[in-house]
């Protein structure tokens, strides 16, 4: 089994005034390709910090992070931006769609940033992923014309459109009602199974955790437990 991402003895502290506050304390984790991994834990346990570190949005105070075979340490902001664009997809709690762009244009954005100049090629790819997330007929809508669940589907399509190594989802269902949350988790799981894309998502909702093929619980910045479950996800984990 290949490794999609790994953390080795990763520490992360934040400076708050004169005080150094540790957020992650010596986390080591190997995430296999095709995992559907949930990071759970109470507020302040370090879930979001781990996701930010895996997402090359933040740098560790010490330790090593690898996405695929590539270490993110030492990369310049420009290289990190290119790296994120190529290898990572993000799904945010608040969807973070651009309100002035249509569904189609929001999903197309990562492809434009990927340097794909051919409009037709981009459209083909965007329409294919929109069909997969069930929004094929809403491509021309603006985000404010969609429900919360539909907006999160757009965000998932945007994360998947360039076929990344890893999709990171920070509390993707926190802003949704339980029915819609279930649908979104089912969609992410379906994408994980269909494309084999590795998903890492944070949550503190037990119902959401149920979908995970691997459940890593954090407490006070450390791994409290690492539980592998059969039957869920792509089979990996």
């Amino acid at each position: 089994m290949t490794i999609a991402a790994s953390l080795a003895d990763v520490h992360k502290s934040y400076q708050v005034g004169d005080l150094e506050v540790p957020a992650v304390r010596g986390v080591s984790l190997e995430i296999e390709s095709g995992s559907f991994l949930s990071i759970a834990g109470p507020s302040g346990s370090g879930k979001t910090t781990i996701l930010n570190l895996l997402g090359a949005l933040d740098t560790p105070s010490s330790g090593t992070i690898k996405i695929g075979e590539r270490e993110t340490k030492g990369l310049t902001p420009k290289m990190l931006a290119d790296f994120r664009n190529t290898h990572l997809g993000f799904v945010f709690q608040t969807f973070n769609l651009i309100p002035v762009l249509t569904v189609m244009e929001n999903v197309e954005l990562p492809l434009q940033l990927h340097g794909i100049a051919d409009k037709d090629a981009r459209t083909t790819r965007v329409m294919r992923i929109l069909e997969e997330v069930g929004l094929g007929d809403l491509a021309d809508r603006r985000p404010n014309e969609l429900s919360g669940g539909q907006q999160q589907r757009v965000a998932i399509a945007r994360a998947l459109v360039k076929e990344p190594t890893l999709v990171l989802a920070d509390e993707p269902t926190a802003n949704l009602d339980s029915n819609t949350a279930g649908e979104i988790m089912a969609l992410m799981l379906a994408m994980n199974k269909k494309h084999g894309t590795t998903f890492v998502f944070s949550t503190h909702d037990p119902l959401v955790m149920e979908h995970a093929s691997r459940l890593v619980r954090l407490r006070d910045g450390k791994v409290e437990s690492d539980e592998r479950r059969n039957g869920n996800g792509n089979g990996a984990g």
Partner: protein, 441 residues
């Protein structure tokens, strides 16, 4: 499991066969401006307030510039039509002493000079003139002024447009005696056509000569030098008073409509200036002081009103700062999906430039509309200012003129200034750290 593809790999994949690569990490120029334009519409009221400030400044600058260009063109036409022609031939040495109107630097072989000038390609007409210092008197008061002897029979009207400026009486008769009096002098003496004045002048040998002459007509050219200081009389009469015996002080020239001024001037200089006997001067050189004044006024206008544009454009800095602050989380998301700092900068620079271009377009369009409208009907300066000298030789009404290149250039420059004004907020936005920007509430 499909692995992530580097951009180049993606270009080689299935449908990617048709995919061409652009620079990754930044949006293309078109996409940047399209997104920028839509972002401007997020807060329409703020965009319009900022754009309106720019529009007002641009309107002021473009309209006043149109007014200046119009006045300048009218002034140049006035100088050429009533005072200088396109060029003049003087005897060598006259031009340097021209303020003293020296009669001993005269063109004596007038016929030969006229023939030589008329033979030059690009010359439409030429006429001899005799300009001299004189006093006009009504028996009680004396007013110093300039007398101009003109060749009524034949050529003066081919070069100058004096007949159209007669406001009282008529133009000089071909074989008559009399003077055409500047309207300003007529006011001083409170005379009109049919009245008589005495012309007092020194001959070229220094003797005083006086001659009573009837006022045939009164002229109003709008040119203060003529209206307030000059009278015209037949050349033969002037030569008689000054004892000039067929000599003149200058030969005035009008170029044909299609002639290129500098080329024709060079030809004239080659034809007449080579011997060293004559000096050929173009109207711009003759009116060097006026031309310098025009340049100064134009520059002053641009600097003065340019300050308004800079102030208006600085408002854009504030608008972009606010927009960037409000969209901090969005900036974080864009950075997360791979937009580089330079891409963020481009986005906000585009928004600033578009605000400037929008305001500039509105201001320019209104200015163009005003200029075209007023160019048709004119602005009656006599009604506004009365007889006050506005510093330009123009009469009654001024007509703004449209200079498309200046309007277009000004518009584009406003866009560039607006982009410059957005540099700071754009750079600030691009320095956001994605993780912090995403946390922004």
């Amino acid at each position: 499991m499909e692995t992530a593809m580097e951009p180049v790999e993606m270009a080689k994949s299935e449908e990617g066969a048709r995919m061409k690569e652009t620079v990754p990490g930044v949006l293309g120029l078109r996409a940047t401006f399209r997104l920028g334009w839509r972002n401007l519409r997020r807060n329409r009221r703020r965009t319009w307030i900022t754009a309106t400030t720019v529009a007002l400044a641009v309107l002021l600058l473009q309209f006043s510039n149109g007014l200046l260009v119009g006045i300048e063109q009218q002034s140049f036409d006035n100088l050429i039509n009533y005072q200088t022609g396109h060029a003049k031939v003087y005897a060598d040495g006259y031009f340097e002493l021209r303020d003293e109107f020296p009669l001993d630097f005269a063109v004596t072989d007038t016929g030969a000079v006229l023939a030589a000038v008329r033979a030059v390609s690009g010359v439409a007409a030429a006429t001899p003139r005799l300009t001299f210092q004189a006093q006009l008197s009504n028996g009680l008061d004396q007013v110093p002024c300039l007398g101009v002897g003109i060749q009524v029979r034949g050529s003066d009207t081919d070069v100058f447009r004096i007949p159209q400026t007669v406001v009282d009486g008529e133009y000089l008769a071909e074989d008559g005696e009399g003077i055409l009096l500047g309207s300003g002098i007529a006011e001083i003496f409170e005379v009109s056509s049919g009245d008589w004045l005495t012309v007092l002048a020194k001959t070229q040998y220094g003797a005083y000569e006086a001659l009573d002459l009837p006022i045939v007509g009164v002229i109003g050219t709008g040119n203060p030098l003529i209206d307030r200081n000059s009278f015209l009389l037949p050349l033969a009469t002037a030569q008689y008073i000054l004892d000039m015996d067929g000599a003149v002080t200058e030969v005035a020239i009008r170029f044909s409509a299609r002639a290129r001024e500098s080329v024709t001037l060079d030809r004239l200089a080659g034809e007449l200036g080579a011997s060293g006997e004559y000096d050929v001067k173009g109207w711009r050189e003759m009116e060097q002081d006026f031309m310098s004044l025009v340049q100064m006024k134009r520059l002053g206008n641009i600097i003065f009103l340019g300050i308004f544009i800079v102030l208006a454009v600085v408002g854009i800095t504030n608008t972009i700062l606010m927009a960037a602050y409000e969209r901090t989380r969005e900036i974080g998301m864009l950075m997360a999906i791979g937009l580089r700092g330079s891409g963020i900068r481009r986005l906000f620079l585009a928004e600033g430039a578009l605000t400037g271009l929008l305001g500039g377009a509105v201001g320019s369009l209104i200015a163009v509309g005003l200029i075209i409208w007023l160019a048709g009907i004119g602005i009656n300066i006599t009604a506004i200012y009365g007889d006050i000298d506005i510093g330009y030789p123009v009469k009654d009404s001024i007509y703004p003129a449209l200079n498309v290149a200046v309007v277009t250039g000004g518009w584009l420059l406003t866009g560039m200034l607006a982009a410059l004004a957005s540099l700071y907020p754009a750079a600030r936005a691009s320095r956001n750290r994605p993780v912090e920007a995403l946390r922004h509430v």
